[in-house]
C-alpha cells in the first residue's frame, strides 16, 4: 500500500500571498507513485514548469520545480526521464538538463552547454544519451556524476537539409534506435557498447515518435511534413520494423492533412495508442488503422484536439494533455485503460511530457 501523498510545506499554501522572493516550498513524494507533467510553456517566454500528480489522492501540485528551488525551469521543457530516484528534465531552448531528486524535486545539478536537447535515455549507471535537434550529435553523459563523457556524431553531410535531428530513443539489446524527425526520414541505430552509429533505416517523412512492442517490433509514426514544406509533404504513416532484422514489415498510411503524433504502448506492450486530434488505439496485431477514435477530444474545431499522450506503465491508465490555446494553464485528463474518464486537473502552459515515478 502506497503512502498517501505527504506535503511538507514550510510556508503554508503554495500559491500564497507571499511577495517575491518566494520562500522555498519543500515536498516529499517518497514512496508515492505518481506522474510528473512537463509543461513546455511558450518558446522564448521561459515559462515552462513542472507539475506532480498523485493518482491515489488525485492531488496535483503545480510549479514544483520553482517552488522547491526558487528558480524557473527555463525555456521550453521538452521531456523528463526518471532513473534511480533522479529526474532528468530536458529544457530544450535553454540548452540544458536540470536534474532533480524525484522524491523531493530538489535541484541536484545540471548539464549545460547543449544545443537543442530533446530526450534522455539511460543505458547504465555510467552512460546515458541526450538526443538533440541541432547539435548533429548525441551527447553521452554519466547519469551518476552528470558529467559529459563523449559524443556520437550523426551529421549527414549528404543532405541539403541540416541532418540528423535525433529525437526519441528505444533500446533493443545493446542497440538504441532513434528517430530523426525534423527534415528527415531516418531511424538511426547506435551500438551502446561502442557508441558508434552502426546503421540507419529509411522510413517515411518526418518520423515523430517510436516504441518497441512485446514482440520486439519497432513502431514508428511519421507526420509527413506540411503543405509548402521544402522537405516534402506526404501522407502520414505508421511503420512496423523488426528490431532484429531492421526490415520494415508493415506500413500504414493516414489521409493527407492528418497529424498523428505521440505514439505510445500500453502496459502490456501489445496495444498502440496515439493522438490524431483524438486518442486512437490499435492492437499490435491489427492489420489496419482504427476507424473510430478511442477517446474523443471536445476541442478539435478550434485548437486541434489533444496535445500530448502517455500511458502509466504500471496499470495502462491513459494521461492526455490538452494545451487549449497554448497560452493558458493546460488540462490533463486521466482515463482508465478502457477509456473512461477518472479525473482531470489543471497544470502549466502546454503540458507536453510525462514521467512516471514508479518507486
Amino acid at each position: 500500500m502506497k503512502k498517501r501523498l505527504y506535503l511538507m510545506i514550510c510556508v503554508l499554501g503554495l500559491f500564497s500571498c507571499a511577495k517575491s522572493p518566494v520562500d522555498t516550498v519543500f515536498f516529499d513524494f517518497t514512496g508515492n507513485s505518481g506522474v510528473y507533467i512537463v509543461n513546455e510553456g511558450n518558446f522564448m517566454y521561459g515559462n515552462s514548469s513542472l507539475s506532480f500528480y498523485d493518482p491515489i489522492t488525485k492531488r496535483v501540485v503545480n510549479h514544483v520545480f520553482q517552488a522547491r528551488n526558487s528558480a524557473p525551469l527555463g525555456d521550453v521543457a521538452q521531456s523528463m526521464t526518471i532513473w534511480n530516484n533522479l529526474g532528468f528534465i530536458v529544457v530544450n531552448n535553454s540548452g540544458k538538463i536540470y536534474i532533480i531528486d524525484s522524491s523531493t524535486a530538489e535541484y541536484k545539478g545540471s548539464i549545460s552547454g547543449l544545443s537543442s536537447p530533446r530526450y534522455i535515455h539511460v543505458i547504465n549507471s555510467q552512460k546515458a544519451y541526450i538526443t538533440d535537434l541541432y547539435a548533429r550529435k548525441i551527447t553521452i553523459f554519466d547519469p551518476s556524476t552528470f558529467k559529459i563523457t563523449g559524443k556520437i556524431q550523426v551529421n549527414n553531410s549528404k543532405s541539403e537539409f541540416n541532418q540528423h535531428a535525433t529525437e526519441q530513443m528505444i533500446q533493443y539489446k545493446n542497440l538504441v534506435f532513434t528517430n530523426c524527425w525534423s527534415y528527415d526520414n531516418k531511424i538511426l541505430v547506435i551500438d551502446t557498447n561502442t557508441d558508434q552509429l552502426v546503421d540507419s533505416i529509411e522510413v517515411f517523412k518526418q518520423p515523430n515518435s517510436l516504441v518497441i512492442d512485446k514482440n520486439n517490433k519497432i513502431w514508428v509514426l511519421t507526420d509527413g511534413g506540411f503543405e509548402g514544406n521544402s522537405y516534402g509533404y506526404e501522407k502520414p504513416g505508421l511503420l512496423k520494423i523488426d528490431a532484429k532484422t531492421r526490415e520494415i514489415e508493415r506500413t500504414f498510411r493516414f489521409a493527407l492533412g492528418e497529424h498523428p503524433l505521440s505514439l505510445c504502448l500500453n502496459a502490456g506492450n501489445d496495444s498502440l495508442l496515439f493522438l490524431n486530434r483524438h486518442v486512437w488505439k490499435m492492437a499490435v496485431a491489427d492489420k489496419k488503422l482504427p476507424e473510430q477514435p478511442f477517446i474523443i477530444s471536445a476541442n478539435v474545431n478550434l485548437y486541434g484536439g489533444f496535445y500530448s499522450l502517455a500511458i502509466d506503465p504500471s496499470n495502462s491508465e491513459i494521461y492526455v494533455g490538452d494545451a487549449i490555446d497554448h497560452a493558458q494553464n493546460g488540462v490533463v485528463h486521466r482515463y482508465n485503460p478502457s477509456g473512461k474518464l477518472i479525473d482531470e486537473f489543471k497544470v502549466g502552459i502546454s503540458p507536453g511530457g510525462f514521467a512516471f515515478k514508479t518507486e
Binding site: 515559462n47 527555463g74 547539435a135 497554448h326
Partner: protein, 663 residues
C-alpha cells in the same frame, strides 16, 4: 486580495489620482503668482485650433520634448510622454506599440504622409526611429486616425519633417557617451537662402550593451553580465525644400541601417549561439504642394524599401536554424485636395494607391513566399463650424485591396466649446475602422491563411479638454474615454488541424476600452525659474469576448503583455542657463497567460516605475550655443522585467554635449 495585488492597486491608485493632485498643486502654486505680470516668451500662445482638427483626438508632442530626447528613439519618447504602451525587448532591441490596448499592427505610422508599417508583419519597430530625425510628432487617437489612413484600430503616429526657411547656415553636433560602451553621435547641417533649403542629418549609435544584472533565471543564481546584446545603428536623412510663389517642392531621403545581436533569455545555458537581426531601410518622398487662399493641392510619392535578415545558428555544430532574408517594397502615390470656401468650412479629398511587394526566404528551412498587394483608398471629409462654439466633422473612406472592396469606413466627430475663447471643449468621435491582415498572416509557411478576413472595428471616444493661461502660467488637460469592439481579431494559435505548427485565424471578438488623461502646465516665477510639468495616464482593458470551448478560461481576460495601467510624469525646472529634468514612466502589471493566472512564480510581470534624471547647463557665446547634460537612467536602480525573463539594466549614466552654430 493578495498583498502583491493590493500593492499593485495602491501603485495604480497613486498614478491615477496622483496626476490630478499634481495638477491641483500646480494650479494652487499658479494662484499664488497671479500678481506676477512679467511676460515670458516660452509660453505658447493659444490660438484657435485649425478647423481640420475639430472633433478629433490628437496629441502634439512638444518640440521641447523632441529636443530633449534628441539622442533617443521614438520608442522611448512614446513610452515616456504619451499614453502609448511600448513593448520593448530591452535596450536597443525591438520595440512595438500597443495604442489603446490593441495589437502592434493596429498602430499605423506615417512619415510625411507615407505609411511605414511593414506590409509583411503589419507592425513597426519603433527602436529604428531616432528622434533626431524628426521635427514634428503627433498622435491621432482611435477613429481620429482615419484622416491619415485606415487600419489604425488603436491610433496613428505621424512623423513629419519641416523646412526651416530662416536657416542660412547651421551646424549642430551632439555626442553622447553612455554606460555599457555606448557612443552616440549626431550631426545636422542646414543651409539655404529662403527659397531653397538643404538639411542633412546623420547619426551613429553603437553599444556593447554589456550591462551587469543579477541572473535569478538559473541555478545557482549569480551576478552576470549581459552578452550578445550589442548593437550598431546609423542613418542619414537628407531633405531639400524649395518654394516659388505658392508652390512648394520637397525631396526627402531616409537611409538607415541597424545591426543587432539578440541576447538569450536569462535561463539560457546552452552552447554558443549566434542570433542576429539586420535591418536596412531606404525611404524617399517627393512632395509637391500648391497653396492658394482657399485651396491646397498636394501630391506626393513615396518609396519604402526594407530589408530584414534574421539569423540564428548553433556555432559549435555550425547548425543554421534560421537564415531568413526578407525584402519589402512599398510604392505610394497620394493626391490631396483641400478646399476651404470659408474659415468655418473645409473639405478634403484624397486618393491613395499603394503597391507593396514582399519577398521572404529562409535559406535554412528553404521556405518562403513572394507576394504583392495593390491597394486603393479614397477619402472624403468635411469639417464645419456650425456655430462659433460648435464644430463637426464627417469623413468616410472607401478602400480596395486584393479584390476586396470595403465600401464605407466612416468617422463622425463633433466638438463643443464651453466658452467663446475655445479654451475648454467636449469632443465626441464615432467611427468604423478596419485593418487588413499582414502578408505574413496570409501567406507565411506554414500557418498563413489566405482566407483571413480583415479585422473590423467600431469605436467611440468622448473627451473633455481644457487649456488656460493666467499671467505667466499656462496649462492644458484632456481626459478621454474610449471603447472599441473589434471583430475578426487575427490570432496565431495552434492549428485546428492538429498540426504542430500554428495558424492565423480570425478568432476573436475583442473589446478594448479605457481612459486617457493628459495634463501639462508651465509657469515662470519672479526669480526667473521656469517650471514645466506633464503627465499622462492611460487605462486600457482589452479582452477576448468569445473564447469558445468550456475549458478555455481566456474569455473576458486582459490580453497578454498589455498593461491596464500606464502613466508617465515629467517635470522640468529651468533657472538661468541650468536645467533639471525628471521623467518617470510607469508600467502596470502585465499578464503573460491568456487566462490571467497569478501565482508567485513570475507568470505576471510586476508593475514598475523608472525614474530618469537629467541635469544640464547651456552656454551661449555669440552664435555658438553649447549644452552639456548629465543623465541618470533608472535612478532608483529598479529591478524589473519588461518581457518575461529578459534582463534589464539597472542604474546607468550618460553625458551629452551639444554644440550648435547658427549664422
Amino acid at each position: 486580495m493578495k498583498p502583491n495585488q493590493r500593492g499593485q492597486r495602491k501603485l495604480i491608485a497613486k498614478v491615477g489620482v496622483g496626476l490630478f493632485f499634481l495638477l491641483l498643486m500646480f494650479l494652487n502654486s499658479k494662484a499664488q503668482k497671479l500678481t506676477d505680470t512679467i511676460p515670458i516668451k516660452e509660453v505658447k500662445v493659444f490660438g484657435k485650433q485649425p478647423i481640420e482638427e475639430a472633433g478629433t483626438i490628437t496629441t502634439h508632442i512638444d518640440t521641447l520634448v523632441l529636443q530633449m530626447l534628441k539622442t533617443q528613439t521614438i520608442s522611448e519618447l512614446l513610452s515616456s510622454y504619451t499614453p502609448v504602451f511600448i513593448k520593448s525587448y530591452g535596450r536597443g532591441s525591438i520595440a512595438t506599440a500597443s495604442f489603446r490596448g490593441t495589437a502592434p499592427s493596429h498602430t499605423q505610422v506615417y512619415w510625411n504622409g507615407v505609411k511605414l508599417n511593414s506590409p509583411m508583419r503589419g507592425d513597426v519597430d519603433f527602436s529604428l526611429f531616432p528622434v533626431y530625425f524628426i521635427d514634428d510628432l503627433s498622435l491621432q487617437h482611435g477613429g481620429s486616425s482615419l484622416q491619415s489612413g485606415s487600419g489604425a484600430l488603436g491610433g496613428s503616429v505621424l512623423i513629419n519633417n519641416k523646412a526651416d526657411w530662416t536657416d542660412r547656415f547651421s551646424v549642430r553636433y551632439v555626442q553622447t557617451i553612455e554606460s555599457f560602451s555606448t557612443n552616440k553621435e549626431y550631426l545636422n547641417l542646414g543651409f539655404g537662402n529662403g527659397k531653397i533649403q538643404f538639411k542633412t542629418r546623420v547619426f551613429s549609435d553603437r553599444s556593447k550593451n554589456d550591462f551587469p544584472y543579477f541572473n535569478y533565471g538559473v541555478l545557482p543564481m549569480h551576478e552576470a553580465v549581459q552578452t550578445n546584446a550589442q548593437y550598431s545603428k546609423s542613418g542619414l536623412l537628407q531633405e531639400v525644400y524649395s518654394r516659388f510663389k505658392n508652390q512648394l517642392v520637397s525631396v526627402k531621403l531616409w537611409a538607415y541601417q541597424s545591426d543587432r545581436d539578440l541576447p538569450q533569455l536569462m535561463s539560457f545555458e546552452g552552447d554558443a549561439r549566434k542570433e542576429t537581426q539586420n535591418d536596412q531601410n531606404l525611404r524617399a518622398i517627393v512632395n509637391w504642394k500648391c497653396i492658394k487662399e482657399k485651396n491646397k493641392v498636394e501630391w506626393f510619392c513615396g518609396l519604402n524599401i526594407s530589408r530584414l535578415n534574421y539569423f540564428r545558428s548553433s556555432t559549435e555544430a555550425n547548425f543554421v536554424n534560421f537564415d531568413s532574408r526578407s525584402k519589402e517594397q512599398s510604392f505610394t502615390n497620394q493626391f490631396n485636395y483641400d478646399w476651404s470656401p470659408k474659415e468655418t468650412l473645409s473639405f478634403n479629398w484624397s486618393l491613395n494607391t499603394t503597391y507593396s511587394t514582399v519577398s521572404v526566404f529562409d535559406y535554412a528551412r528553404k521556405a518562403g513566399y513572394d507576394q504583392d498587394q495593390l491597394a486603393f483608398s479614397v477619402l472624403n471629409s468635411a469639417h464645419l463650424q456650425v456655430f462659433p462654439q460648435f464644430a463637426m466633422s464627417f469623413l468616410f473612406r472607401s478602400e480596395w485591396y486584393d479584390g476586396r472592396l470595403i465600401k464605407f469606413i466612416p468617422a463622425f466627430g463633433t466638438e463643443y466649446w464651453l466658452d467663446k475663447k475655445q479654451l475648454s471643449s467636449l469632443k465626441l468621435n464615432l467611427s468604423r475602422n478596419y485593418h487588413q491582415p499582414s502578408l505574413n498572416d496570409l501567406y507565411w509557411i506554414p500557418g498563413g491563411n489566405p482566407n483571413l478576413k480583415p479585422e473590423d472595428g467600431f469605436s467611440g471616444d468622448l473627451a473633455f479638454s481644457y487649456k488656460g493661461k493666467e499671467g505667466s502660467t499656462s496649462f492644458e488637460g484632456q481626459i478621454t474615454g474610449f471603447a472599441s469592439l473589434i471583430d475578426n481579431w487575427i490570432v496565431w494559435q495552434p492549428s485546428a488541424s492538429g498540426a504542430y505548427y500554428w495558424e492565423a485565424n480570425n478568432l476573436r471578438k475583442v473589446f478594448a476600452r479605457g481612459t486617457e488623461i493628459q495634463v501639462s502646465g508651465q509657469t515662470k516665477a519672479a526669480n526667473g525659474i521656469v517650471f514645466n510639468l506633464r503627465g499622462n495616464y492611460s487605462y486600457s482593458a482589452t479582452s477576448n469576448m468569445d473564447a469558445v470551448p468550456s475549458v478555455d478560461d481566456s474569455r473576458g481576460k486582459q490580453l497578454i503583455y498589455i498593461p491596464k495601467h500606464k502613466a508617465n510624469l515629467f517635470a522640468e525646472t529651468d533657472f538661468k542657463a541650468y536645467y533639471l529634468k525628471i521623467n518617470a514612466p510607469f508600467i502596470g502589471k502585465r499578464y503573460t497567460s491568456s487566462n490571467n493566472v497569478e501565482s508567485d512564480y513570475e507568470k505576471v510581470l510586476n508593475p514598475y516605475w523608472l525614474v530618469n534624471l537629467t541635469l544640464g547647463k547651456r552656454f551661449d557665446w555669440k552664435q555658438l550655443q553649447t549644452d552639456v547634460s548629465l543623465n541618470v537612467e533608472n535612478l532608483t536602480n529598479a529591478d524589473y522585467m519588461a518581457i518575461l525573463w529578459r534582463s534589464m539594466p539597472g542604474r546607468y549614466y550618460s553625458l551629452t554635449v551639444q554644440i550648435q552654430f547658427r549664422k
